[in-house]
Each structure stands twice: as structure tokens, then as C-alpha cells.
Amino acid sequence: MTITKIKKDHLRLIFDRLKDSYKLVGPRVENDVIVLTEMDFHDIPAGYKDLHGKGVYRLSGNKDSNTFSFSLGPDSFKRFLSPPVREIFAFKKSKKGISANVSSKEEKPTAFIGMRACDISALKLYDKVFLEGPVRDTGYDSLKRNSLIIAVNCLYPNGNCFCDSLGTGPEVRDGFDLAITEIQDSFLLETGSSKGSEILNGLTIEEVSDKEMDEKNSRTEDCKKTIKRHIKVNDLPWVIYRNPEHPRWTDVASRCLACGNCTQVCPTCFCNSSYDRLELSGISKKSREISGNKVRAWDSCFSKNFARVHGGNFRPSRRARYRHWMTHKLAYWIEQFGSPGCVGCGRCITWCPVGIDITEELEAIRK
């Protein structure tokens, strides 16, 4: 990994260069929220500050001369690598038989701009789910393989961040092509791959002085110090396994709306449902033909019928569904994939309409 720097106003050049071969996806302000969409350099919410609390989010603009003063919005990059609704195949049933066809569109690869350490860690977990199981998910694979990751080192954590406790941030360590750290007068650039260094070819890049390295390190240290929220993980998963009947589950169930917001914003939640989508025009009674497509859509373990089978529902109560979600995040994941399914991004705390805080709930289970 090499580290270089560019002048602040040269960042635009990197964007210009990326645009030729990539679709740019990154942060942009929409309806007073920082979302992830297709964007360009001028869309970066430079100077914006986002305030996060339990069930609270406020965005205030242009108070800061920094480019990357903001943190995370509700979206994570899973929206693009495993889209909310995706066609798996198109089917047709006729007298001749059944066919299922996968359409392969040649899409421009995506460059993900401004990915934070927690989201990069989440992406590694997504890889384990979608690429390392019994069947490799070809859709995810092709979207991921051609993509480019431009990471940003966090310097201003929000009030709900607790990545430090899980070792998933705030600093990016690997899993990126290029990582940006903003210091007083320039952007420091670490290249994490050959694709990453290619982007810098021909740009005026300068050497980083010892003083600037010190500035980077002290800013990162300051960032860690400003992280207020923490979670204790040394007794996971056992503390949860030991307490399936803890009264706190009933308590949280009385607050939880089972809306599933937490699962939609969580960068590691992957639960989905596949179903057939038929259109009226796809049904012909006369020729006894039907056609449509099989889609896979995000779902949530908070959905009432998520664990329904013929003749019953394994998790009818909200208590069981919240317990299942949190137990999955903080215990099952460890057994299933080798690390907790929480990367400490705090999104579920911000976007829970009733302000349920996973760190607090875990602490309560311990008592």
C-alpha cells in the first residue's frame, strides 16, 4: 500500500477520470437526507453535518470547510450490489414446456464513492453470504467483481457510531481500491489495488511528508476518541445464548413496532424473498401460456410471515422476532460466518422510529 497526496481541488480530476469507465455511486443530499445515488463531484455533501440520535436524524448544511465532514445516511452499498428488487430469471410456460432465462445486460461497472470502514467490513460479510455458500450468487458476483471502491477514512463519527468496539473502523484497512483521508490542505490517497493506482496515473501526485502523516494519525486518533457509543463483545455469543427467556425481550417487544426499518438500513442484513411476478399481459388463456419473472426482493425477519410454514408460524410474536434479529446479528453470525453480523454503523439506532438501541439492549440482556 502506498500513500500519496493531491491538492484539494484535484479531487475533481479523479471523478472526471472515473466517469469514463464507471457509473459513479455515492453520497448526495435528497430531501434533507444524505442518500446514495448516482452522483458526480459537485454532489458531494461537502460541509454538511449530520446529527444522529436514537430515532433522530438532522442534516445541517455548509457549516464546515471540509469536504468529508458528514457521516452515514440510511443507505448502504447493499442497495447497489444486492438491489432491493432484482430479477433472477424470466420464465415462460407454454405447451412446449417451461423455460427460465437469465438476461445478461452488459452494465457499466460501478465506482462506489466514499465508502466508510464499517461498510467495507459489511461488504466482506456480504461476500461470505453471497459468494461462499453452496451456490455462488452470480448477480452479486458480477456486480461486485467489476466495481471499484473509493473509501473515505472517517474523521467525524456520528453519535450512533460504535465501529471501534467491533474493530471494523473508523480507519479502513483493506478491501478498497483507493482510500481518501482529508487533512487540512490536501487529500491523502492510499492505493489498495492496481486498479486504484491506475486511477492516479498522470495526475499530479505529491509525496506525503512526515508532518502530514502525523496529522493523519492524530486525526484518526481524535476520531476514535469522539466515538461515544460502545458495545462489549467479549462474551458474545454466549451471553445471548444463555438468555433466550430474559425479561428484556418482552420489554423491547412492547416498544418495537416490527416495522423492519432496522433490517432495511443495516448494511449486513441480507434476508430476502423470491417470488413470481406475473403481468396480466403475460397470461394467455387461449394459448395456455404464461410468462413473467422471478424476482428477489429484500425482506425482513420482522415480517409477520417470514417464518410461516403450512400449518403454523415459527415466530408469531414480536418478542420472538426482535430476539431473532438481535440474536442473529450478535450471536448466530459468529457461528455462521465467523464474526458478528454487526459492524457498528449505528444505522439501526438512527432509523428506528422508536429509538431502540442495539447496544443498550445487549447491555440490558447482560443484567
Partner: protein, 289 residues
Amino acid sequence: MYDKSIPFEAKIRWIKKETRDTATYAFKITSREIERAYRFIPGQFNMLYMPGIGEAAISISSAPSDHDLTHTIRVAGDVTTAISRLDTGDVLGIRGPFGNGWPLEEIEERDLMIIAGGVGIAPLRSVIRHILNDRTEPRHVKGVRGGKISSPARIILYGSKTPKDIIFRDEFPRYRDAFQTFLTVDKADPEEYWRGDIGLITGMWNKTSFNPLNTVVFMCGPEVMMQSMVKELILKGVPGEKIFISIERNMNCGMGICGHCFFGPKFVCKDGPVFRFTDIEGFLGIKEI
């Protein structure tokens, strides 16, 4: 290899009605190439696909050495009802096989007790037929009915609601070539001719004589039945490590990416559906797990 996220076409070769709500279907995979690549072990399942309606997880009820690939399906909801309306020559989609299957290596030198409730016999028929097919050869060579003297004991305990609900009833005489079989029903009509037992499957112990320490159990049926059976088996001295149960949960993708089938930390679709009792023991008693 073919892509297991995309269904392939299969044609129904024949249908055999087993009971009023259950039938066995034999399938012929249309594509030669896929048919050749398709391999399974007893206890695995396929996702059967009715385009426009959906998919259902259904165990393979034939043995790998059988000529036909069969599924034995009980009508439950949308997909299974739609399948029940199909005729010979009709087609549907199949994805699979999925899941781990029964640990056949465990029974090579040990006694096997098969315990099934209701349609739970379907994945076990695959084991039964596997054993039957396997033993034909040596039996003829040696000319000894029942196999070698030292060959391990094989027992089937099967419980159904009524005599009319017994699946594979016509095959049981053949099963008796290699297995001691015990059938029981919850209740039988007085008018009906029924020589077997009446009562819970758990009440059949006094009839069987088996060596608990040398027995491996393969079990599939309603979860309550399996829970009480496991308790009794352990009381009788069967080691928990030698009890294998096949578990049912909601299946959507069948391949470990949808999250519907969790049983505690286990994906029933890829870590199961067959589990060693001691691996899931801690989660079995928890309500709404």
C-alpha cells in the same frame, strides 16, 4: 455444472396416488446434460417450481440407485395443490438438489432405526430403498435370506394418522426383507381391517428389541413427535450423537441466502435439513426460536 438458482424442466413420467392427500411423482429431467450431472444423496431435497405460483421444498423419495427420480407430495397450500392437478406428461421446474442428506457413513457398521411420522417417511424412503437396492447383490451371491449373519439390524417405526394415511403401504412387504417394520396409527375405524398398532409411535418400544449403544437413529416427522422420541431414545440409552433428525422450516431460496429457514444459528437448507441431535439440542426446547 448447472446453475442451481435457475430451475430446469422435468416431465412427470408417472403418478401414484398414495393416500387421499399424498401422491408420488416420478420425474424425467428433460435436459440430457443436466440429467447426467444431477447427483443426490438420500435426505436431500429439491425446490419444485410451478411457474407463476411458486416453489416448495420437497424431499427426494427415491434412492440414487433407483431408476426414477421421485417426490412424494402431500397437498398443503398453493404450490402443492397446483402440483396435485398435474398429469402424466406435464412439466414443472426443479432446482436442486439441496441440503446435506442422511449421514450414511454412520450406519455402515451400526444398527439403524428409522423413525417416521406422516409424510416424514418420504426422505427416509430414499434411505430404505438405498439399503434394499444395495443388498440385493450380496444376498443372491450368498443365498442367505436376510444378508450376512453379522449384518447390522435395521428397524422402521412409522406412525400415521389412520390406516388410510399410510404412505408406501404397498411397499412395506418388500421393506420387511431387510427391516423389522412397525406401523402404528393414531386411530383406526372399527370397520377397517387393521392388524397393526394403535397409539403413539412412542408406545412401540416394548415390541422392538434393539441395542441402544449400537444404534443410529434417522428420524423425520412432526417436530413435537421428534422431540418426545428423542427424549425416550436418550432415556433408553441411545447416545445423542447418534440421533439424526430432519427439520422443517420455511424454505425460500434453498441455498443459504434468504434467511427464512433459520433454526437457531443453523440454515436448515444448507447445514441441514438433517442435524445431529447434539448439534442443535440447545435450541430445540426454545419456543419460537
